[in-house]
């Protein structure tokens, strides 16, 4: 392990250092026109410097804010560092944000320059430009479709770079000036503002300093022994703290190579070609891949299916033990080796996971079955618990200490305590500098002595000494009779079924628990095909009685498993319905990181919730839907409600009789 140079306290300084120390090593790749293009650290420095000087010529200066909008492309990452080199602060925005949402963030952050991917984003910004008086230049990466645009403020990325290159060539002192500007930066400077999608209300701008992210990144790299030999693929939203830290800060600090996929739908193939060694994904990705596998296997021939099922069984039984280095019988090892040859190896290869040393899941609880499946087939999948306000890391599981229902011990330099109300609090060098222009909200979350309220309810599991997160503190509720009701816990159990994409449990302050279900179009669609169920739309499929039967069976199984747990047994699902539309971030039902906004959903579907509790078997619902360009429409439907039988809860039943 090389010694850490503490003077490297900003990302542009680290860039210059890397270009000198490991200049010939790959820093970034991007697949373009079918070929992987590589930039070494030295080349990347040149690209970033040219753009940076160009930005300075446009007037971007210390303290200014500029936005980055688009998918994971090298130039957008470069733009972040180029601005930071001048002391300006990047404000990345989710590329799929609707125009209105984008306008709010850009106006609030007072951005003066926008660096965007393509025509789509340019259109959005032009549409809201009258609300952004401070915004000057809009710089785009991909020129397609922009040829006929007559906008004086519009420039291509190359334009700005060539301004910078000309300046550097014509004025020799320019390079010195630029480097002096970089040297002026300090670790305590504001480095980025990340707007959290927030499960409630308007998004808040989390301010992170260089120290916050760089110390967190150093600790994380040391924890998992990451060095300049790692390969990662950048495919998660740029505006998300996870991508900012994994694909940018940690890469700079360790000197590893970040690979940008060709398109959003080629990630799996691209990952396979690169052979990434360090992977990060929200549970949804692992879930989707498993769903896809299950669906494809259901279509496979009988022999293949038998082989698959048998060896997945073997993996479930022995895989995790082998991965954790425990003692297992020789026959099990042998069987596992055959399974690896026939099933696990090809499966991992198919999804580009063969070379992965460390894979993380975070952001939401992962279904224990999904987690065990992946570990069983040999993926070193671990959990971590983090927040934007913490520069990601709060807890992480170390190798060999993995449990599906915990999130690990406190990360390096992090202190954790649990409040009397059961809320998790932490304190660390990664703690954010506050919400941008929002001292009240900051005070609500950040205590004067540096503790941050996470808003999550959790406890330290006495068996493992690891942190266990149950639910959002404010979501944790009780039924009318006082039974604990943890909606997310129930929803996660439901979501394990490939047919269920999303679930919303309701019941706080009510007599019993009900669930609204979103079916998974891939899984249920394939089932429909195999069973000759004809449907014309999502809505039609969702309302099909056979689909209801199938979901009812899943809920029955969930109830059975809930009945086995003392704490949760009283919160079994009594009634359910299948929603007529997919929950969507554009309608405010999910956050941009695909988390449920339960409160909003319950308000929006109030007639359905009422119908749950007044005994109706059908309910009428009309909801407004928002399209990506901002225009709205109304979707109306009649939704059927079904009853499900709960399993007897031994103790509760006895109490009832006594009463």
């Amino acid at each position: 392990m090389k010694a850490i140079d503490r003077s490297l306290d900003t990302l542009p300084k680290i860039l210059i250092h890397n270009a000198a120390a490991i200049g010939a090593r790959p820093a970034m790749r991007h697949k373009d026109l079918g070929i992987w293009q590589t930039w070494t650290w030295a080349q990347m420095l040149e690209e970033i410097r040219a753009f940076s000087v160009g930005l300075a010529e446009l007037g971007l200066k210390r303290g200014d804010k500029f936005t980055i909008v688009g998918s994971n492309r090298p130039r957008l990452y470069w733009a972040m560092c180029a601005g930071q080199a001048l002391g300006a602060v990047p404000v990345p925005v989710y590329a799929d944000a609707v125009a209105d949402e984008m306008a709010y963030v850009l106006a609030h952050a007072e951005v003066t320059v926008a660096v965007v991917e393509d025509q789509e984003q340019v259109d959005k910004i032009i549409a809201v430009s009258d609300r952004l008086p401070r915004l000057g230049k809009v710089i785009y990466d991909e020129p397609r479709g922009l040829k006929d645009y007559v906008q004086r403020r519009l420039n291509s990325f190359e334009d700005i770079q060539s301004i910078g290159r000309n300046k550097l060539a014509s004025a020799p002192e320019c390079l010195k000036q630029w480097e002096a500007g970089v040297a002026e930066g300090k670790g305590s400077d504001l480095s980025v503002i990340l707007y959290t999608s927030g499960t409630t209300g308007r998004s808040k701008g989390v301010m992170l300093t260089y120290e916050n992210t760089i110390i967190s990144a150093r600790n994380a790299n040391a924890f998992d022994h990451l060095d300049e030999n790692e390969e990662v693929i950048a495919y998660l939203p740029l505006a998300w703290v996870g991508d900012y830290v994994f694909s940018y800060v940690q890469a700079y600090v360790a000197g590893y190579c970040v690979n940008c996929p060709e398109a959003a739908d080629t990630v799996v193939q691209d990952r396979r070609e690169i052979g990434t060694t360090y992977a990060f994904a929200p549970p949804r990705v692992y879930e989707n891949v498993l769903t896809l596998t299950t669906v494809r296997m259901a279509d496979a021939g009988a022999i293949k299916r038998k082989v698959f099922d048998f060896f997945i069984g073997v993996a479930g039984r022995w895989g995790e033990k082998i991965l954790d280095g425990e003692k297992v019988p020789l026959t099990a090892r042998l069987l596992y080796a055959i399974g690896n040859l026939l099933v696990y190896g090809p499966l991992m290869n198919q999804f580009g996971l063969s070379r992965v040393r460390v894979a993380y899941t975070a952001g939401e609880a992962i279904g224990p079955e999904i987690f065990r499946f992946w570990r069983g087939v040999g993926l070193n999948l671990k959990q971590l618990y983090g927040q934007t306000e913490a520069s990601v890391y709060i807890t992480a599981q170390s190798d060999g200490e993995i449990h599906s229902d915990t999130v690990g011990k406190a990360s390096t330099d992090v202190e954790i305590k649990i409040s009397d109300a059961g809320e998790v609090l932490f304190r660390s060098p990664g703690v954010f500098a506050g919400y941008y222009k929002d001292p009240d909200k900051t005070a609500e979350v950040l205590t004067p002595d540096g503790w941050v309220h996470t808003g999550d309810a959790g406890f330290f599991d006495p068996k493992t000494n690891q942190l266990k997160i149950i639910d959002r503190a404010k979501d944790l509720g009780h039924l009318k009779d006082g039974t604990v009701f943890a909606p997310k816990y129930i929803e996660n159990k439901l979501k394990f079924y490939p047919n269920i994409r999303e679930a919303v449990a309701v019941g706080a302050g009510r007599d019993f628990v009900c669930a609204m279900i979103n079916i998974d179009l891939t899984a249920v669609g394939s089932w429909a095909e195999r069973n000759n169920v004809v449907y014309g739309s999502y809505q039609e499929l969702a309302g099909n009685p056979l689909v209801y039967d199938m979901i009812a069976r899943h809920i029955d199984e969930v109830n059975r498993s809930l009945a086995e747990e003392e704490l949760m047994a009283g919160a079994q699902i009594r009634r359910f319905l299948i929603l007529h539309k997919e929950l969507d971030p554009d309608d405010g039902e999910l956050t941009r990181t695909q988390k449920l906004r339960r409160g909003h959903i319950i308000d929006r579907y109030a007639p359905l919730v009422e119908a749950f509790y007044d005994g109706s078997t059908e309910a009428q619902i009309a909801t407004e839907v928002t399209f990506e360009d901002g225009h709205k429409g109304v979707l109306a439907a009649r939704v059927t409600i079904r009853d499900v039988k709960p399993y007897p809860v031994v103790r509760a039943a006895r109490l009832e009789r006594a009463a």
Partner: protein, 266 residues
């Protein structure tokens, strides 16, 4: 590739003129005395009820059928008959109503096949794949990759087209036609059998091809919404005769057209 210019300027001189063309199969008259022209840079739609002779018209234009009478002027050269091969060499590309792809070949290979006419090295050069032959292949592959990028089909580059959804196959077929870098692109029902989203995508691509590459497009399509939105001009055929030739707004109001589609008022 032509330099892009605004639409008004681009739509101009006549690229292809059909004059008094008649075609019959035995006793069946498919086309009788049809005349119209296709101007450089425009999107022209040919519509009409079933059996009106739309596909026959396209087949005449690209030389697949030989009309019994009439003449066709393409790029200033008059002809009354031409082989499809010669038409392709002359810069006319087309897609088909019922897809004509090589199903066992990948998307990439299918589109590369569209470059066949532009390959200059002979069979043996290509066999050794060295020196000039290799350089040529690299150059063609580059063009094909640009088309793949343009049509956003990178994810299916290496997948045999037989395994693709219908909408995607249509897109691959368009890609192969584009690989010829045609002056005139004939599309036979490019949206047939597509869902709404696929239709929107395809419309977008057709407009982009027209604007970005300046390619002249003649298409047959049944979806009236698409035709009205997409085309600069519409030619309406009915029982092998031309009954209208005007911009979409006028065609919409044309009595003869309404009658052809809805029948005589009782």
């Amino acid at each position: 590739m032509r330099a892009p210019s605004s639409r008004e300027a681009a739509v101009g001189e006549v690229l292809l003129a059909v004059e008094d063309v008649s075609l019959s199969f035995g006793g069946v008259r498919a086309l009788s005395g049809v005349s119209f022209d296709i101007r450089k840079g425009e999107i022209l739609a040919i519509i009409g009820p079933n059996g009106a002779g739309k596909t026959s018209m396209l087949n005449v234009v690209n030389g697949f059928y030989q009309p019994q009478s009439g003449r066709i002027t393409f790029k200033g050269k008059v002809r009354n008959s031409m082989r499809p091969y010669a038409a392709a060499q002359g810069g006319i590309a087309r897609t088909f109503q019922n897809l004509a792809l090589f199903r066992g070949m990948t998307t990439l290979d299918n589109i590369l096949a569209g470059r066949a006419l532009k390959m200059h090295r002979g069979f043996f050069w290509q066999l050794i794949r060295f020196g000039p032959a290799l350089r040529e292949e690299v150059e063609h592959r580059h063009r094909v990759e640009e088309i793949i990028d343009f049509l956003e089909i990178a994810a299916i580059r290496k997948i045999p087209v037989g395994r693709l959804a219908y909408g995607l196959q249509k897109r691959v077929e368009l890609g192969r036609a584009l690989a010829m870098e045609p002056d005139l692109l004939l599309l036979d029902e490019p949206m047939a059998g597509m869902n709404l989203e696929e239709k929107e995508d395809m419309s977008r691509f057709i407009i982009d091809v027209n604007q970005q590459y300046g390619t002249t497009i003649a298409l047959i399509e049944h979806d009236m919404g698409v035709v009205m939105d997409l085309s600069d001009r519409i030619v309406v055929l009915d029982y092998g005769r031309k009954i209208a030739d005007a911009p979409p707004e006028e065609v919409k109001r044309d009595e003869k057209v309404i009658r052809a589609y809805l029948g005589e008022p009782q």
